[in-house]
Each structure stands twice: as structure tokens, then as C-alpha cells.
């Protein structure tokens, strides 16, 4: 028996107009239309969607494992609010104990620095 040929299509669905398309799963099909019909049958027998994409798998390029691993390891808290959590406590402290006028020296009205 000769082997039949199909392509793998990855399926992406959007559940709400303000949400991004999210990867769902994949289907085997010979045309995009067939992939869309199968995606509906396979993954949306109950829940709804506002839009559906199918993409032939060979059109998707992904990072290799080593690159994914490298990306995962890098810490970037300095790019997030993660490192600034202490500010909340500081603000509470200064609301209750405002800095005094003497504390506010360190600059002059004209901007020149006091030694």
C-alpha cells in the first residue's frame, strides 16, 4: 500500500479580541481549509473562540534546546518591579515619619551644591 502524505498544521486560537492567539495543538491535513475544519472538530466541540489560525509546522522556526536553556537561566530582575518591592515599606515609613526640614538640605534653590 502506498503511503499517504499529509502535513502537520499547528493550531492557534484566540478566545477574546483583547487576548493573543494561543497555541492549542496540531492536526494532520493536506490543505489549510481542511486543517481549520479539523481544528474546530478536534478542539472546539464545547468552548468557543473568536478566531482560529492554522500554520504549517514547517513554517514555524523555533529556538533549539540550548538557546531555550540559556534564556531561562538569565535573571533580569533589574528590568522588572521585582527589585523595588522595598519601596512600599519606605513610603509607608515616610508617610508616618516624614523627613524633617533639616533632612532636606543637600541642594540649594539655585541648584548649586552645598559642600
Amino acid at each position: 500500500m502506498e503511503r499517504l502524505d499529509f502535513d502537520v498544521y499547528e493550531v492557534f486560537a484566540q478566545s477574546d479580541p483583547l487576548k493573543p492567539h494561543v497555541h492549542v495543538f496540531n492536526v494532520l491535513a493536506s490543505t489549510p481549509d481542511m486543517a481549520l475544519a479539523l481544528a474546530e472538530e478536534n478542539f472546539f466541540r464545547r468552548e468557543g473562540f473568536v478566531n482560529l489560525w492554522v500554520v504549517r509546522r514547517d513554517a514555524i522556526h523555533q529556538l533549539g534546546y540550548q538557546d531555550r536553556e540559556g534564556f531561562r537561566k538569565s535573571e533580569k530582575t533589574y528590568r522588572t518591579t521585582e527589585d523595588y518591592k522595598y519601596l512600599r515599606d519606605k513610603w509607608r515609613h515616610y508617610r508616618e515619619h516624614p523627613m524633617s526640614a533639616e533632612d532636606r538640605t543637600g541642594g540649594t534653590r539655585d541648584g548649586s551644591v552645598v559642600d
Binding site: 499517504l4 495543538f25 494532520l28 481542511m34 478536534n42 533549539g64
Partner: protein
């Protein structure tokens, strides 16, 4: 498996698995891991496909229109689960240049087995109820464990599957509850179905390991493909369902069944494990008929598959 014999690549793979990392289809994996996965997932896939057939027999005979719609939806879900799992298996089989045609061929020739429960007869509507309630209940106990499987695509497929099984179980509970609350004849029908299915339900989890785990099991546990033994899963089934079954006034056909008050372990009569081997080797009551139906349908659908394959794609 002697760990010292591993190559660096294998050792690194196991380290990933140990720290709970999930493996993707394109990642490097030991050939043995791939084989264990294909063995498990292809078996699961054909069990879903063959599992649609016992209940399908009740689609035209369901007692009301509502029940017919619900059981049709369930049968369709089971075939859908088969589709998902066959895709997962196919991606793993790609380096071997094999695909779903090989899976179906292995099913028809008996090389690939399917779950013992789907070889059994469904003579009454109560059998359809027991399948939904207790067979799917048993399946969710196994699949719930597999959600933590180290192979990500299988775990992702299972997330979708387990969600739908929730509906299947309640569909089955609803059928059984209606019969339990019904006429003496309906109650008797339910009791008869439970008597028929009880040994098959115990067999579903596979033979107890005692102190000896099989090579396959040891490997699957090492690879974090599975995390519990057959017996642990069966014990969970007892804990979850025995009291519920009793609460409907049903008798479990095992006078020795009891829970040890101290260890909480269930003591029960072993089903006939020789019969189990006969059944899964396609010598069960309905094995031949259902494989015959599946094989005929597959052959009759050949021209459709040919027509929709890429060979006929326009342009």
C-alpha cells in the same frame, strides 16, 4: 539500568528529567525513552479509538433523545482523544519513518494491544452507564498520574483529555443513578452490569507488582513517564469508588473485599490474570468483532484518505 554506563548526553537528559524539566519532541532523548513513550502512547491512542466502539453500540438504542445526544458526544470525544494521541505518537515515530498507518496496521495484526475493558460486551444500557462511571473513572486515575509525565506533548494532550473525561464520568454517574433510583428491574440491570464489569475494572490497572517491578515499569518510573505502580493506582480506585458503589445499594461481587482499618489498604480477590492475558491478546468476548469492524471501516475509508491526501492537493 546502571547509571554509570550513561554517556554525557544521557546523563544530562536524566538530570533534566530529575529537576522536573519537560521534554519536547525536538529535544534530544535516549532511544529507549522514545520507545517507552511510543509503546505507551500508541497503546493509549488505539484504546481510545477501540474504546468508542462498546458505547457506540448504544447510540441508536439510547432510551431518550437527550441520552442519545450525550452518548454520541462522548463517543465523538473518545475518537477525538485518539486523534490527539496519534499525533503525539506520530511525532515521536518520525525518526523511524513511521506514521499512523503503522499504528493501525499494528492494531490489526495484534502487535499493538488495547485496554482489556474495551474487549468486553455491552449487552444492556446499564453497561453504557458503568463504562462512563467506573471505566472512565479508572482511566482518569491513571491519566491523572500521567499529567506529570516528563514528555510535554503527552502531558498537554492529557490535560485536554482529562478535562473532557470529567463530563464522561458524570454522564455515566447520571445513567447509573437513574437506574439505581428506578424500578426493581432497572436496579437488577445495574447490579448485573456491575457484576460483569468488576473483574475487568480490577484488571484495567494491570497485574499487581508485589515486590517485583517489571523492567518497563522501572524504566518508566526512572524517566518520570509514570510515578505510581499498578497496585497503587488500583488502591486509589477502591478508595474513591467502593463506598460510592455501596451507597447506591449495590453489591460488589467480591465477599472478601475490605479495607484494613490500620494500613488503609484494600484487601480484595485477584481477578483471573490468565484470563486478562487472553483478553488483551485479542481473545476477549468482543475482540474479534470490534477489530473486524474497525478494520473494515479502515479499508472502506481508504479512498477518502487517498482523496484528501496531499497527492490530490490543487496546485
Amino acid at each position: 539500568m546502571v547509571e554509570e554506563q550513561f554517556t554525557d548526553q544521557e546523563a544530562y537528559f536524566l538530570e533534566r528529567v530529575d529537576r522536573g524539566d519537560r521534554i519536547e519532541a525536538e529535544d534530544w532523548m535516549p532511544e529507549d525513552y522514545r520507545q517507552q513513550l511510543v509503546r505507551l502512547i500508541a497503546m493509549h491512542a488505539v484504546s481510545e479509538i477501540m474504546g468508542a466502539l462498546p458505547e457506540k453500540e448504544w447510540v441508536p438504542r439510547a432510551p431518550t433523545l437527550y441520552r442519545r445526544l450525550a452518548i454520541t458526544a462522548k463517543v465523538q470525544d473518545e475518537v477525538g482523544h485518539g486523534q490527539l494521541l496519534i499525533r503525539v505518537a506520530e511525532d515521536l515515530m518520525r525518526p523511524w519513518d513511521k506514521n499512523r498507518e503503522d499504528i493501525m496496521e499494528d492494531l490489526f495484526t495484534g502487535r499493538l494491544k488495547y485496554h482489556n475493558v474495551f474487549h468486553m460486551a455491552t449487552p444492556t444500557w446499564a453497561d453504557a452507564g458503568i463504562i462512563g462511571w467506573l471505566v472512565d473513572g479508572a482511566a482518569v486515575i491513571t491519566q491523572g498520574m500521567s499529567l506529570s509525565c516528563s514528555y510535554a506533548p503527552y502531558a498537554r494532550a492529557l490535560q485536554r483529555i482529562v478535562e473532557e473525561e470529567g463530563f464522561h464520568i458524570q454522564h455515566g454517574e447520571s445513567i447509573c443513578m437513574a437506574l439505581a433510583e428506578g424500578t426493581p428491574m432497572q436496579r437488577a440491570m445495574l447490579q448485573d452490569a456491575l457484576n460483569r464489569w468488576w473483574p475487568a475494572l480490577l484488571m484495567f490497572f494491570g497485574p499487581p507488582e508485589k515486590s517485583q517491578l517489571s523492567t518497563h515499569q522501572l524504566r518508566n518510573i526512572r524517566y518520570r513517564i509514570r510515578s505510581k505502580t499498578n497496585e497503587e493506582l488500583r488502591q486509589r480506585f477502591f478508595t474513591k469508588y467502593v463506598h460510592r458503589i455501596w451507597s447506591l445499594g449495590l453489591t460488589i461481587p467480591d465477599p472478601t473485599l475490605r479495607q484494613d482499618p490500620v494500613t488503609k489498604e484494600w484487601i480484595y480477590q485477584q481477578p483471573d490474570w490468565n484470563e486478562f492475558r487472553e483478553i488483551v491478546n485479542n481473545h476477549g468476548p468482543r475482540s474479534e468483532a470490534r477489530l473486524g469492524l474497525r478494520s473494515t471501516t479502515y479499508q472502506e475509508g481508504e479512498w477518502v484518505r487517498r482523496l484528501i491526501s496531499t497527492a490530490h492537493r490543487a496546485g
